[in-house]
């Protein structure tokens, strides 16, 4: 261990406290019996019970999960194709525009993406009658569009780090190109695809701004419902919801970390 200076150590301590103290406090206050969320009124789990009876939150959570699963799957398919095209097909016509379009959605401010997609849907509706109603499908399309960029980048960098002669070797041994993709390329980029799917899934669950633009009346995602509640101030059942999310994510990441460590440990 190299010795760290006191300045660096205190920056680390402060930084991690900055990142985690707010989250820990939310977890603590979710067990607060008091309705006024900032005053401690004794330990209780009543807010979890109330959360489970809140239909609007449950409906929104269900819609969000549907959208997240659909868009993550579509984004993984499209993004993998795009990543393959960028990393393996060499130069093709329109490649510059393609790679530009792939990386732009990631850095585009959400308000712009949301606004532009809504205006597209409105225009499409005027011209073709579709989408008649905005909701599940429009949100899923919007989420697919920005998530596929992340998948494409993850897949592309995995492919660039991968020895291209693996695919050439398979082709040399008689594998036709499409066969080689299924025999060699896809199994080897599977971890990147899974990572891409998980990231897309999270991004979709996380998105408030874009969904607010492209959803229609009667279809609110979980972040939209949360937002409409917290606009009015701190609310104890949101604390409970946040706690569920924080604990689930932390457990998931912890398990993945332990499994990953065991897998990489030399046998």
């Amino acid at each position: 261990m190299k010795r760290q200076s006191r300045f660096i150590l205190s920056a680390l301590a402060f930084g991690y406290a900055f990142l985690y103290v707010p989250l820990i406090l939310v977890v603590v206050y979710s067990f607060n019996d008091s309705r006024i969320a900032t005053v401690w009124g004794g330990f209780s789990t009543r807010w979890y019970g109330e959360l489970l009876q809140n239909d609007s939150i449950l409906d929104a959570a269900f819609l969000s999960l549907q959208v997240a699963i659909t868009s993550a799957t579509a984004a993984t398919l499209l993004g993998t194709m795009a990543g393959l095209a960028l990393a393996r097909f060499g130069r093709f016509r329109g490649r510059t525009l393609f790679s530009g379009m792939i990386s732009s959605p990631m850095v585009m401010p959400e308000v712009i993406t949301g606004l532009s997609l809504l205006l597209l849907f409105v225009t499409l509706q005027q011209l073709t009658g579709w989408p008649g109603q905005r909701g599940f499908s429009t949100i899923a399309i919007a989420h697919t569009t920005f998530s596929m960029a992340y998948v494409a980048v993850i897949v592309q960098s995995r492919l660039m780090a991968m020895d291209e002669s693996l695919e050439e070797a398979a082709m040399d041994l008689g594998g036709r190109p499409l066969r080689v993709v299924f025999d060699i390329t896809l199994p080897l980029i599977a971890p990147a695809m899974i990572a891409g799917w998980l990231l897309s899934f999270t991004l979709s669950l996380d998105d408030l701004v874009i969904a607010s633009f492209v959803s229609g009346p009667g279809s609110s995602t979980l972040p939209m419902v949360i937002f409409s509640k917290v606009k009015l101030g701190v609310s104890p059942d949101i604390n409970a919801l946040a706690t569920i999310i924080i604990v689930t994510v932390s457990l998931g990441v912890a398990i993945a970390w332990v499994v990953g460590r065991r897998a990489t440990r030399p046998s």
Binding site: K2, I8, L9, A11, L12, F14, G15, F18, L19, P22, L23, L25, V26, T38, M81, A82, A85, F89, F98, M101, I102, S104, P105, V107, P109, E110, V111, L115, L117, L119, L120, V122, Q126, I141, T145, M148, Q156, S157, A161, P177, L178, T202, L205, V209, P223, I226, F227, V230, K231, G233, V234, I238, N239, A242, I245, I246, V249, S250, V253, W257
Partner: protein, 297 residues
């Protein structure tokens, strides 16, 4: 070319064409529409803007929205405020993120992975809820005020919420990981013996830092700063939840213009100008990321 080889070409075309078409329709085309609508006039109708062509088929474009935006002080000030707030948050993130990234890059491998994991973990937890967490902290009766009063440092609550300070903190908190990761990547790649060599050649620790570490980390610094600055410029949730009514940022103005005032042409014009402001940083960022990917390959 044999029939087989032709077949092999077909799937490649499909693999390019499908995502290409998708992005064309759902990413590129919308911008054209935003531009088109920004040149229309607002009307009370469904949809609430005039057509690009009047009944005689003449082009009916008006730059009224843009003219309004650029002459009305409110919008000019809001753009400037957005740049200042986003810039300030970027500097805050850099000041805290650099020593953290440095410390992580210099820690031993086992600790390093855990520390990195803890930087990435918040990404997976809802952004909205992380901003929300600060509401409970900064309230007049929130944890910070209660704590300070309990200490006796203050006798009445300090107003944190609904101030620019709260927006700064919220921005820095939310985007800190975006700063640390690229910084870490460039610092981790750096050979520690370079700093030792500089010190060996007579540089003080501070000198060695400015002569060796900083220039070598520059790519990471630029990428990190842009990754914080660009989304912060368009931020909507943080100013809405933590900022006061007068702490307007451009993302929030766009949102309100669209949903509250239903002035679609003006909202579109706001978006176009925001995009123009961000074109340079976005292009610079993409150039850095492309270079980074090449050097990694």
């Amino acid at each position: 070319m044999t029939a087989n080889a032709k077949n092999d070409e077909t799937w490649r075309r499909v693999a390019v064409a499908v995502p290409y078409l998708w992005l064309f329709v759902f990413f590129l085309a919308p911008f054209a529409i935003v531009f088109k609508i920004s040149l229309a006039d607002p009307v009370i109708a469904q949809p609430p803007f005039t057509a690009s062509f009047d009944e005689q088929g003449n082009l009916a474009a008006s730059a009224d929205s843009f003219r309004f935006l650029l002459t009305d002080k409110l919008y000019v000030i809001t753009y400037l405020r957005s740049v200042l707030m986003a810039g300030g948050a970027t500097i805050l993130c850099l000041a805290l993120g650099f020593p953290m990234a440095y410390g992580i890059a210099r820690s031993n491998p086992a600790t390093r992975n855990l520390l990195l994991l803890l930087i990435v973990l918040p990404f997976w937890i809802s952004f909205l809820l992380r901003v929300y967490a600060w509401m409970g902290l900064m309230n007049n009766h929130g944890v910070i005020n209660n704590f300070l009063m309990w200490l006796g440092a203050i006798d009445k609550p300090i107003q944190f919420m609904y101030t620019d300070f709260a927006v700064f903190v919220g921005l820095a908190y939310s985007y800190l990981p975006f700063m640390i990761l690229p910084l870490y990547a460039s610092l981790e790649r750096m050979d520690l013996s370079l700093v030792e060599a500089a010190q060996d050649l007579g540089a003080t620790r501070t000198r060695a830092f400015w002569d060796v570490t900083w220039p070598l980390a520059r790519a990471g610094v630029i990428a990190g700063c842009l990754l914080v600055f660009i989304p912060a410029m368009g931020e909507y949730v943080i100013p809405y939840l933590l900022g006061g009514p007068e702490s307007l940022l451009i993302g929030r103005v766009l949102f309100d213009e669209f949903f509250v005032n239903r002035d679609w042409p003006l909202a579109s014009a706001v978006a176009i100008i925001l995009l123009l402001l961000l074109v340079v940083p976005i292009v610079v960022l993409q150039r850095y990321q492309a270079r980074d990917q090449e050097s990694a390959a």
